[in-house]
């Protein structure tokens, strides 16, 4: 009997290529063993959500992907993380170039205390992506449009970025991240400081960005993970407990710890 295929089934059928591969990753903060033997494959052009209780290592692992942990002197990372098969710890790969390929959006909206235009233009400028002023204008406009912010700010591009509302600031930060056309966008609890309406806008935006970017998002809201992601990974005490399609993770996870966490039974 022919059944019409659901969109979920269709999405499951086309398996996207793997973008990020992590194998046996261990992270130490001084004596503290923050992540233990983590291995995960993140598919391209999809949203992967990391969930787990505070201190479980999900943000730590996220910060490994663009080597933001390098800025913490006591942090030590072992194991292999590769983007498109290229080891990010390879000595020939400059960390600055890596971060241009792997953008990041932080928990608290953190626009630079400069104008909206300057916020978006900064990345392309330092990476030399815009040879002329017109090119830069075009990049700024395209980035703001892609971040669904253009209509709201096009008349006041030279006003302070910090004068925007929290949700607009966060979209400005997303525009700033995509202005350098990265391949991967890491989002560290991007909505935790926003109200529900602003959160909804960001979630809508994430869904649109999925077409062009590989997105990894850390979130404390399980509903948000369920809404925006295609795959979900559950972290607990520095261990990747379980990873799989989001529907499976939220309806019928294999591991009891995942089940306890998603249903709100964690002690």
């Amino acid at each position: 009997m022919e059944m019409p295929m659901t969109t979920a089934a269709l999405e499951a059928l086309e398996t996207p290529p793997t973008k990020i591969v992590a194998r046996d990753v261990n992270v130490y903060y001084g004596e503290k063993h923050a992540i233990r033997n983590l291995s995960i494959d993140v598919p391209a052009r999809s949203v992967t959500a990391f969930i787990g209780p505070s201190g479980c290592g999900k943000s730590t692992f996220l910060r490994c992907i663009n080597r933001m942990n390098d800025t913490i002197p006591s942090a030590r990372v072992t194991g292999k993380i590769a983007i498109d098969g290229e080891d990010i710890h390879d000595p020939s790969l400059d960390v600055v170039q890596l971060r241009a390929r792997v953008g990041m959006v932080f928990q608290k909206p953190n626009p630079f205390p400069k104008s909206i235009y300057e916020n978006v233009a900064y990345g392309p400028r330092i990476h030399g992506l815009a040879p002329s002023r017109t090119d830069l204008d075009a990049i700024v406009e395209a980035s703001l449009k892609k971040a669904s912010l253009w209509e709201e700010v096009k008349d006041r591009l030279h006003d302070a970025g910090t004068g925007l509302s929290g949700g607009q600031q966060q979209r400005l930060c997303i525009a700033r991240a995509i202005a350098v056309s990265p391949e991967v966008i890491l989002m560290d609890e991007p909505c935790s400081a926003l109200d529900p309406i602003a959160t909804a806008r960001i979630e809508d935006l994430i869904d649109e960005l999925r077409e062009n970017f590989t997105i990894v998002i850390v979130t404390h809201s399980m509903q948000q993970a369920a809404r925006v992601s295609q795959r979900t990974a559950f972290f607990h005490l520095g261990i990747l407990v379980e990873e799989g399609p989001t529907e499976m993770m939220f309806n019928n996870p294999t591991d009891k710890r995942t089940l306890d966490y998603i249903t709100g039974r964690f002690g």
Partner: protein
Amino acid sequence: MSDIAVIPARHPGKAEAERRVARRYRAERRFRFYGIAAIGFAALFLVILFADILSRGIPGFFHHRVGIQVTLDPATLDIGDKRDPDALRAADYRAVIREALQALFPDVTGRAERRQLAGFVATNAGAEIARRVIAEPYIIGSKINVNLPVSAEADLYYKGKIKAGPGQQLSAETGVLLDRLRANAFVSQDFAWNFLENGASREPEQAGILAALVGSALTMLVTLLLCLPTGVAAAIYLEEFAPKNRLTDIIEVNINNLAAVPSIIFGLLGLAVFLAMFGMPRSSSLVGGLVLALLVLPTIIIASRAALKAVPPSIREAALGIGASRQQAIFHHVLPLAMPGILTGTIIGMAHALGETAPLLLIGMVAFIVDVPGGVTDAATVLPVQIYQWSTFPEAAFQAKTAAGIIVLLVFLFLMNGAAILLRKRFERRW
């Protein structure tokens, strides 16, 4: 489900609760009163200080002048037919003034009285006539009206600071003569441009603050140029780049200790290192600036580090997150945000340096500087040292000069701080 234990709190009676609340409010009112009293106390002293300095210092900015008519007779001037500037400068203007005064007091005949009469006009009065004669030599031979500064004693008498009579600083006869001078000639009070235009002098009516003012400005310039870049660079390195290890800990502790070292030690250091070892010019504002820079550096480093630390790490992360290098993140984003704090630290440090005396005494900036210094290597003195020197002079007229010097120092300080605050406001306005 958790069973919540009943909290064994014993609620006091209504009366007791009210007493407790009243006590709390009383304690709060009391504390506010202490605070207001402390501020009032400080304000009172400030008012007393300012009132005292202003009342004593403002007369120091003014000087009495006497308007008399002098005859520029070439014979009295003892110049013959020569009219070249050198000859005119060497002419005997005192004689002209003496004659004019005698004409005013025909009854004064005694030699001693006449000399006293001539002494009522300041020693530099002749120089004023000379300037005019050199500018317009054709007035020689004619009678001109001049307004000449009176001597320091006469000035103090007219200001009412000293009295004449038995047991006073001036004899009764002198008092009578000065009163008569005021009655016969036009005696007026005028702004003493001398004070702002001249260097140091043993003569109080000629002593000026300009040399010390320029010396202070040059010294401050050297200090600022040296310690701001050095201090900020050191702070950035320590805060952003230096590995956190025992060595940097030791450096940090030492910088903090350095801020507490008595300033005279820095003077000794300057004497031993800059003068003895490097042979730099003695009493120059260059050496003074170097010594003060050493003194101020720890303050600026500590303030700058605090300002850098206060910049939210999210800004750093944002910059690093889009691929800025560490240096780009610091210079494009962190430093501009830390600038107001750094400038505040600099203001405090520079104000501290401006008022510093002890280390400068040791490197010879206490010298008697008559000429205004033209560069950082010229011998110079600074305002606080000049004030200190004047306060040690026995002449009564120097007391007013001391207070006037303090006013100049304070005005300089306000201007410097004002400039720095304006600069800080400019930085802050960039969001």
